[in-house]
Amino acid sequence: MRTEGLAPDLGVDLGGIKLANPVLMASGTFGYGADYVDLVDPADLGAVIVKGTTLHPRAGNPPPRIVETPSGMLNAIGLENPGIEAFMDEHLPRLRAHHVTVIVNIAGESVDEYAELAKIIDGSIGVAGIEINISCPNVARGGMQFGADPGAAREVVSAVRSVTSLPIVPKLSPNVTDIVSMAVACQDAGADAISMINTLSGIAIDIEKRRPLLGNVFGGLSGPAIKPVALRMIYQVYRAVDLPILGGGGIASARDALEFHMAGATAVSIGTGTFVRPTLAMEVIEGVRDYLVVHNLESIDQIIGAAAR
């Protein structure tokens, strides 16, 4: 159903981050943009959100780090990354050279670390925005404690806000009782947009060994299995908060992406879906465009939150 000739506007503004189209690669699932380069030109994407980056290099968790589950997977990577300096020196220049819109996902072990990371990024050229990972369930320190408590989230976001004028996008954990209060706290603290959802905390068990399957015991559940939960949370936050939402969690088709837009997402992120179909992001961009054409819509804005009003 591709309709040539007509060209609806796929551009969106995600809290000050101008995106040529609303499809982003989720943090931790597209490396630094180079791994899929034979299959996807990262410059064609709305943006690439790079792997969660910490102040110091991290080795990550012991294997096994992934296990498949029904319509999903658990991962317990443990934020393996070369640290912010190596990212700035090695990866960012390459991304910049390829005209990729880059959002850096940062993870600190303390409020100060978040601020320090943001300060380092603020001083550089070629970063369009910062995604603040307050939700990674796979590391002992940092991560979840900030994502589970509105007060702590407010602190982290405020600290980052105070050191950068780059657009900042806190990424929320779904493992909470009240997602709206988390989003409100981020809004109050000066966030420019909200990213959601990160993975659901889960485990799997090897019934022959009678032990947890993951080296880290706990992992993060991603993939189509979590889509209904992601949509619900986006719907709730869209109705309660004025910030644009970067929505994701289980997107596996253009239809899925449209559901996210209609629930309230200004842009969408694709993670696990890329592992299954490396070119999924491109198919989603095309499929969303087709939907707009077929339904005589001029821009994506006309469907954002359509089902949540």
């Binding site: 034979d38 080795a59 990550g60 780090r65 992934i66 319509s71 490396p278």
Partner: protein, 297 residues
């Protein structure tokens, strides 16, 4: 030695199944028309990442299982642009694969990973010893083809539980490799495990290089014996994979002396030098231990 780094030219291809046959106990061989992957000149030790459900033009993005499954290149037919994989039925994905029929379409991605090192002309005469256990023989068959094409002498030690699992034997013999087999039930070849034959084979062949793939305890034993004899070698490892291209960091594995961190089996491997591998704790294997056969005697 020549070696292919990962990702020279990865492609995703809707391949047509040419045949999908039951070739041994729990073993199937699938041949696929995959011109784009063949055009990327895949090398032995590289693998393809396979969606185990039929490729559906209408698209069923939620078909179970979701993730792709990695399989080594068992053989490549450059002329017909076909590739083969030899697979063992393990769980959901491999069970579903057995249901596919000729002319069905399947979504594969590759070639992926770093290949085995192979001698270039400049290395002069070259003798390789290939040690395979069970379905671990898969990457070693295509390797043997290439080595034989380059004029190398190839000795193969090939072990399995029973003769019905030695599905690659005929193909190896056709390639002109000298094969010795072991089975645990004495149904073919020597009774025992494949590493029982290794010390003697090293004596006889004086190999320049040892290539191995199979269960971890087997490869660990091969590595020990190779190192004892000062022979370099490589082994192909497995890990649970999501992306297969280095993006997800899911396939991490520690190498010896790499305190710095983990390597990725999908792009830093699956082939690694045997002296760098920290094999998974397992029982001693073969030559160093009394095998079942000896115990039975």
């Amino acid at each position: 030695m020549e070696r292919v780094e990962a990702k020279r030219a990865v492609c995703v291809e809707t391949a047509t199944i040419i045949k999908n046959d039951h070739v041994g106990v729990g073993l199937w061989e699938m041949e696929l028309a995959a011109p784009r992957i063949v055009a990327a000149k895949p090398r032995p030790g590289q693998f393809v990442h396979v969606r185990t459900v039929p490729a559906d033009p209408r698209g069923n993005p939620h078909a179970h299982p979701l993730l792709r499954r990695p399989f080594s290149l068992y053989d490549v037919d450059m002329e017909r642009s076909n590739i083969s994989i030899l697979y063992k039925v393990q769980g959901t994905g491999t069970s579903l694969m057995t249901k596919l029929r000729p002319r069905d379409l399947i979504d594969i991605m590759g070639p992926l990973g770093r290949s085995f090192s192979t001698p270039s002309q400049a290395n002069g005469p070259f003798t390789a010893l290939v040690v395979g256990g069970g379905v671990g023989i898969a990457p070693l068959v295509y390797l043997t083809r290439l080595l034989r094409q380059r004029g190398c002498k190839v000795g193969v030690l090939y072990g399995a539980s029973t003769c019905g699992e030695l599905a690659a034997l005929y193909r190896l013999q056709q390639l002109g490799a000298s094969c010795r087999c072991t089975t645990l039930d004495e149904s073919l070849g020597v009774c025992g495990v494949v590493t029982d034959l290794l010390p003697q084979a090293i004596q006889a062949l004086h190999p320049d290089f040892i290539y191995t793939c199979g269960p971890e305890p087997m490869m660990a034993a091969v590595a020990r014996i190779a190192q004892k004899n000062n022979i370099p070698g490589e082994a192909s490892l497995e890990a649970h994979m999501a992306c297969g291209v280095g993006a997800c960091l899911g396939c991490a594995r520690k190498l010896r002396g790499s305190d710095a961190g983990y390597v990725k089996v999908c792009v830093d491997g699956p082939v690694f030098p045997i002296d760098r591998i920290e094999f998974e704790a397992g029982e001693k294997h073969g030559a160093e231990e009394a095998t079942e056969c000896e115990q039975r005697v």
